[in-house]
């Protein structure tokens, strides 16, 4: 082996999270690698919390917090962020909304000042004209997202499938729609929503990058400790882990489904270091096997995602390709062959090591980028932040049997949801709907974690 001079430094673990007197959770993860620092504030409120008939309310509030605050009126906040010389953005996701900024490390006080301002003084600057204008902007954004991402990344079909993955009433069965139903939302609606959810005891502040932890604690206390919280307790969600029994099938009718696609979805009850490390390696193994299995069929295309929903992971395989070529059933049978091999024997020892390295490299790529690291650390308040280093370490010792067991128990044909996309162009967007065909033995199981 050729000798290589490595400059790798010791990766740092996050400090134990702590809470301010007003309930704000704070996660600090310092390191010496970067000249930058990232600040991320996560509010445990997202699209799933839109009240019925008020779709996009959470997204609208996110937009409004950039339109001026008491001390940073108009576009002053956006201008200040732009001048910092870093990245900033916000995302309204299914179960949370996050605001993040990355900038040179010496700007940490300004970054914290801005996020404190958003939490404490944005509400009083909302007005009816801003609400009306941002409703239009949010509608444009929804449309653009569909145009940019297309069917392989995110679409109405994905949203509808996500709804079908959970029983009615579950938090994750709500809020996936990209519908534009913000029309008619009033200033009072927005103010009520902000008061209900944008409060320190419903938020997590994460700081990652190059900073002195003691200095950061002092700055956090300076800017956030005095932020008041409403007397009523924060509304907390009970989010049950939902697993599958049997093989469910749904058919999605969408105006964007230009090519036949089939989605295979598995829920994995992985919520700790041990389980997550195995799942990440299993994901790399499955992707590698599928690539080899499907390599001879140049007309087939696939995408394998592993999503984290706090107390469980979601493995989602999208299969498709040229219309002329194997049918979706034939393509699925190729996947089935791979899965059977992995249930029965697990990965080869010779393939496990590189796939573990591949999973670790993916993990390190996320770790290296400050805002993706901050996103990983900003978990729901129902869950502790993950120990990123422990997961990385555990991936190094994942065994063939660990991976085989994960497949044998959870990535199975009798614990799977199958979703086919069908084009319905004639009625435009109004064609979007989902037919749920529950096969005889398919049911949701709540809370099971046995492997």
């Amino acid at each position: 082996m050729f000798a290589v001079g490595l400059l790798a430094l010791q990766l740092a673990a996050p400090l134990p999270p702590y809470e301010l007197g007003n309930g704000l959770r704070v996660v600090l993860h310092p390191d010496d690698f970067s000249t930058d620092v990232a600040v991320l504030v996560r509010y445990d409120v997202g699209r799933a919390h839109d009240p019925d008939g008020y779709e996009n309310l959470a997204h609208l509030v996110e937009h409004l917090t950039f339109t001026g605050t008491k001390h940073l009126p108009g576009l002053a906040m956006a201008k200040t962020l732009a001048e910092l010389g870093g990245d900033f953005n916000a995302h309204t996701l299914h179960d949370h909304t996050r605001y993040f900024v990355t900038a040179p490390a010496r700007e940490l006080p300004v970054m914290l000042w801005i996020e404190a301002e958003r939490m404490a003084f944005a509400l009083e600057s909302f007005d009816a004209a801003k609400v009306e204008r941002e409703i239009a902007v949010v509608a444009r954004e929804q449309d653009e997202r569909k145009r940019i991402y297309g069917p392989w990344i995110y679409s109405d079909a994905h949203a509808l499938i996500a709804e079908a993955e959970y029983p009615p009433g579950h938090l994750y069965a709500r809020g996936h729609s990209l519908a534009n139903e913000a029309d008619g939302i009033t200033l009072a609606n927005v103010q009520w929503f902000f008061q209900r959810y944008y409060r320190p005891d419903n938020a997590t502040l994460v700081i990652t990058g190059n900073f002195d932890p003691e200095r950061a604690r002092t700055l956090v206390a300076d800017y956030f400790e005095a932020i008041g919280r409403p007397p009523a307790p924060v509304p907390r969600d009970v989010v049950d882990r939902v697993l599958f029994r049997g093989r469910g099938r749904v058919r999605v009718r969408s105006w964007l489904s230009l090519l036949p696609l089939r989605h295979l979805v598995w829920h994995l009850p992985c919520d700790d270091t041990e389980d997550r490390a195995i799942a990440y390696v299993a994901h790399a193994v499955l992707e590698h096997r599928l690539r080899n299995e499907l390599a001879n069929d140049t007309r087939t295309r696939f995408r394998l995602d592993l999503g984290d929903r706090g107390n469980h992971l979601v493995m989602a395989l999208t299969l498709g390709g040229h219309v002329v070529g194997p049918s979706l059933d034939e393509r699925e049978r190729a996947v089935q062959r791979v899965l059977v091999e992995l249930w029965e024997a697990g990965p080869d020892r010779a393939e496990l090591v590189p796939m573990s390295v591949s999973a670790q490299t993916d993990w390190l790529l996320e770790y290296r980028t400050l805002h993706t690291r901050a996103q990983r650390l900003a978990t729901s308040r129902a869950h502790p932040p993950p120990d990123l280093l422990a997961i990385q370490e555990r991936m190094k010792s994942v065994t063939v049997e660990d991976v085989r067991q994960l497949f044998a128990h959870w990535i199975r044909y009798d614990r799977m949801l199958v979703a086919d996309e069908v084009l319905e162009l004639s009625r435009g967007r109004s064609a979007n709907r989902i037919d749920v065909e529950e096969l005889d033995d398919f049911r949701f199981v709540v809370g099971d974690k046995r492997r």
């Binding site: 001390h71 490390a105 449309d143 297309g150 139903e181 393939e351 980028t369 109004s430 709907r433 065909e437």
Partner: protein, 479 residues
Amino acid sequence: MRAVALIAFATLATACRASLPPPSLPLNRTAEAPKYATRPTPLEEIDGPKPAPIVQQKLDNGLTVFVVEQPGVPLTSIGYINRAAQEFQDAEDRPIGLASMTASALLEGTAIDEDTIIEDLRIAGRRPYAFAFEDGTFAGVTVGERGFSTAVAMIARMVRTPALGATHLADASSGVVRAFPRQKSALRTRMRRLLFERWYGATHAWALEPKALKEVASELTPVDIRKYHRTVFIPRHSAVVLNGAITATAAFALVERHFGDWSDDPGEPLRDSQRFVQREHDDAVTFLLPADEEDATVMAGFTAPPFGHGDMHAVHILAQILGGPLTSRTQVRLRHERGLTYSAGATYTPHKNAGYVELAAAVDNDEVASVATLIRAEVRRVRSEGVGAEELRAAKAAYRRTYSLQDPDAATIQLGLAFCSGRDAAWFEAVDAAIDAITAEDVERVAKKYVPEHVDLVLAGDAKAFDGLKVAGVVNLIQ
């Protein structure tokens, strides 16, 4: 038994809307304090890592090597850059798709020991990438500490001795098929090509429509690809970038070991493509009527100088002022003041011999005419009105990030772009100071120099939008 349930999608929601409670008063629960009213001062300079120096060397065979030491997370990016690419494709003997097919074929296996890249991947643990673009061809991979030596060897074999047999080519054509823009993302590419056609003519490489995949695959033979590879993939046209947690000494030794004996075949001189020519613009409007779009897009553009030109940084900052950060002029006019769009953006793309600025916004079909008017007005305004200190600072900050070396993958691409345009490490390291030195007067000067008084537009939308524009003098309709 099969139970079937139909879930209507987002139609009845508004009808079912129940009243929400009013907000409680007072709205605000945080006491006013002086600390909230004043922007805090920055911290003293942080004792962090200094910007990594770029070390550049040339091997005896002419291969250029850049190394950037980045102590930290144990990852290293290895990139190979070749100066030849799509600009080679505008001649009869260089059909369109050749560069992309060759790049894709690099991933399909090597000629040594019947080895394949997939097998290398089993050791390195990562999949490599390869693609061709207007100014060059990139191939590379990012690996952790365990795969680094193997990865350098893998990239060397990929670019030096690809298999390029009929089977590999068939597989590569599949890769090209997959890489072609699909769905909505193809629209802006098509709109851009219409601007290029107007400026440079229909036969210019940038203006050519990509052929259907089938044609690409059927027209190119292994002989074509091998000839192209043999004459173009030679050390003097090539650079290797290593960026990450590795010492320069070790990096150069590895490159010497795997690339040092690469023959310095004279190959073929790189053909000079379109030189920068500042075109006359004449308020032309081209309307594209796509069948599958429910929304419209407005795009304005003008010719701009090539990569490395003395005005390049100032034009970049000009583009940022026009449509960069959230507070840029177009964002303010279209989004913040009128709610007409979510993202209106301007980008300056300087290629090796020519560049362009484009400004685009996705809008509702009903708003095409008004947005087109507003965008034209903003482009004209930047010619005539001064640049403010605040917008200059924000634009510089946004542009400066482009050259950050902290993200090794992005840095590899940036160094590669500089190499393709004949720039070296010294040029790259001077960029920060050059950006700092740009003044409002510089930006105003390049605005007057490059921004045309008459702005060409390409619009895409439905028939209704087109009807609304007829009176505005649409000169060219493309179905």
